[in-house]
């Protein structure tokens, strides 16, 4: 893997989100993303699923760099709180290393809106397990520079997230997608950001348009077969919105692959 990864297989999710990254200090990654039309939700701001994907992208890469040279990382859980629902852009995603243990890495990630006086948009923590890939960990030139912008995007607008994922509702509480090639990560499984976005869509569907403001997401197993379905159950309602339990299953493999606890605020 080289320092400008514009064409590698499994990079479509990163390109769709349009996140570019720079390693500004050792193990301190800074990402930037435009508030692109295709990332916006019904409320006008960037969908929480897209914000979660950005957190996962930048935090995961930061965690991976911290794991070198022993191995690389796979996300195991992501927690995030979204505090600003309207965004001007560009967004800046800052990842800092909180802990590098024997078999896991913890990164803190915050998203700020540079077009709105650096207003905090989201704050999260990503935990990743350290693994040794079959062909060894990837090699990077340091300090790392990664530009994932979609080449040629200026001539062809990208579809909105729901359409891009091919998401369809199932009953009153579930959303399902097929495991399309462009939704896989470089290891051939469903991208973690897509799982997060699916959780966001299921919470929105189960609450008639609620906006995800808080997520705890545990990645339990890879999605390899599909279709992949997220099913939400409302546990209760509070002054900040509905609290839901969202379970993600690889229907084709007949197994649970992720569990999320979500708070969805009313958007009215």
């Amino acid at each position: 893997m080289n320092e400008r990864e514009d064409s590698g297989a499994g990079r479509d999710v990163g390109r769709y989100m349009g996140v570019s990254m720079r390693e500004t200090d050792e193990l301190h990654l800074v990402g930037h993303a435009a508030v692109a039309t295709h990332l916006r939700g019904p409320g006008g701001g960037v969908r929480t699923g897209a914000l979660l994907t950005m957190l996962d992208n930048v935090g995961g890469l930061g965690g991976g760099l911290a794991a070198l040279p022993d191995g690389w990382v796979v996300s195991t859980n992501l927690t995030a709180r979204v505090v600003a629902l309207a965004h001007a852009g560009p967004l800046r995603i800052d990842s800092v290393l909180l802990r590098r243990g024997r078999n896991n890495v913890v990164t803190g990630v915050q998203i700020r809106d540079e077009g709105a006086r650096d207003t905090l948009v989201a704050s999260g923590v990503l935990t990743s397990a350290i693994l040794v890939p079959e062909n060894g960990p990837p090699q990077w030139s340091r300090p790392l520079v990664l530009d994932t912008a979609w080449q040629g995007a200026s001539t062809q607008p990208l579809p909105p997230i729901r359409e891009w994922l091919g998401a369809r509702t199932v009953g009153d509480d579930s959303v399902e997608i097929d495991l399309a090639a462009e939704l896989r990560n470089p290891w051939g499984i469903l991208h973690g950001g897509v799982v997060a976005t699916l959780v966001d869509l299921a919470a929105e569907h189960a609450t008639d348009g609620g906006w995800t403001t808080d997520v705890v997401l545990h990645f339990l197993a890879p999605n390899r077969v599909g279709p992949v379905r997220a099913s939400a159950r409302v546990l209760g309602r509070r002054s900040d919105g509905h609290v839901l339990r969202v379970e993600v299953r690889d229907v084709g493999a007949n197994r649970t692959t992720a569990l999320a606890i979500v708070t969805a605020a009313a958007t009215a």
Binding site: V83, L98, L235, S239
Partner: protein
């Protein structure tokens, strides 16, 4: 630290938990009687008290799932949706979601006596090689159903028992000593107590920021290091506020160990629970 764990006077005895473990090592249950000493001024059990229940039952179950290896708690999350009031008993139903080579993930449902949802929690653990000093899993699973002695109980409100010192309420700065009463078996401040410290710090800062009597109903606790020396000190960053709610990021450090970072917590406070 006392030679026998837990000592006669200890949090895990005084909260009067009882336990039941399934033989297959995939599920456990625990019960906690709710007393006024565990409650907020809005009259329901503190998130930190419930996090302590979750920590104890989740940790025991994860140790079984990771055997013959051992575990280190990586994170604990708790979302409350129902009030647990004095005189009631909260049941924690823990289940293994994943038991892999490097991680164990546990889900814990909290319900009241009528089977209504009180909340939901998750925990994840890093799997480590076993050391000679780690407890035997069989001892955990075959232990008596409670650690409480006949006279075990909270003599004072939980925060008084913990020795919470409110250094600056509006900024959420509190100091909490590391004492035998609240240690874990490794000689560091117990994970549920860590959650309680963050809860109290966030509650103070968010009440000041909103002017409303909010209570913490969500905690996402990421454990980074032990608190062994003390005092444990909080630093709160209010992330955002709205009508009837607010959120904060809390960092805890071991002030007596050169301010070593122990924990990062995201907390949400709301108007309370019905």
């Amino acid at each position: 630290m006392a030679a026998v764990y837990p000592p006669d006077r200890h949090l895990l005895r005084d909260l009067r938990f009882t336990f039941d473990h399934d033989a297959d090592g995939r599920r456990s249950r625990a019960w906690m009687p709710v007393v006024t000493e565990l409650c907020t001024d809005l009259g329901h059990a503190r998130a930190g008290a419930l996090a302590t229940l979750v920590d104890v039952i989740g940790g025991g179950l994860a140790a079984s799932a990771a055997a013959p290896g051992w575990i280190a708690t990586a994170d604990l999350t708790l979302h409350l949706v129902g009030a647990a009031r004095p005189g009631s008993t909260v049941e924690a139903r823990a289940e293994v979601l994943r038991a892999g080579r490097t991680t164990v993930v546990i889900e814990v449902a909290l319900v009241d006596e009528d089977d209504h949802d009180v909340g939901i929690a998750t925990m994840s653990f890093a799997v480590l090689p076993r050391r000679d000093t780690n407890p035997e899993v069989a001892l955990i699973r075959d232990s008596p159903p409670t650690m409480a002695a006949p006279d075990s109980r909270l003599a004072r409100p939980l925060l008084d028992e913990l020795g919470v010192d409110f250094v600056d309420r509006d900024r959420g700065i509190i100091d909490v000593p590391v004492i035998d009463w609240s240690l874990n078996s490794m000689g560091a401040i117990q994970g549920g107590v860590v959650a309680t410290v963050a809860e109290v710090a966030a509650e103070q800062a968010l009440r000041a920021a909103t002017g409303e009597p909010l209570v913490v109903t969500d905690l996402s606790v990421t454990y980074l290091g032990f608190g062994r020396v003390g005092p444990v000190r909080s630093d709160v960053d209010v992330l955002g506020t709205g009508a009837g709610h607010g959120s904060a990021r809390v960092e805890l450090v071991d002030a007596g160990a050169e301010n070593r970072r122990m924990t990062v917590v995201h907390a949400v406070a709301t108007r309370g629970l019905g």
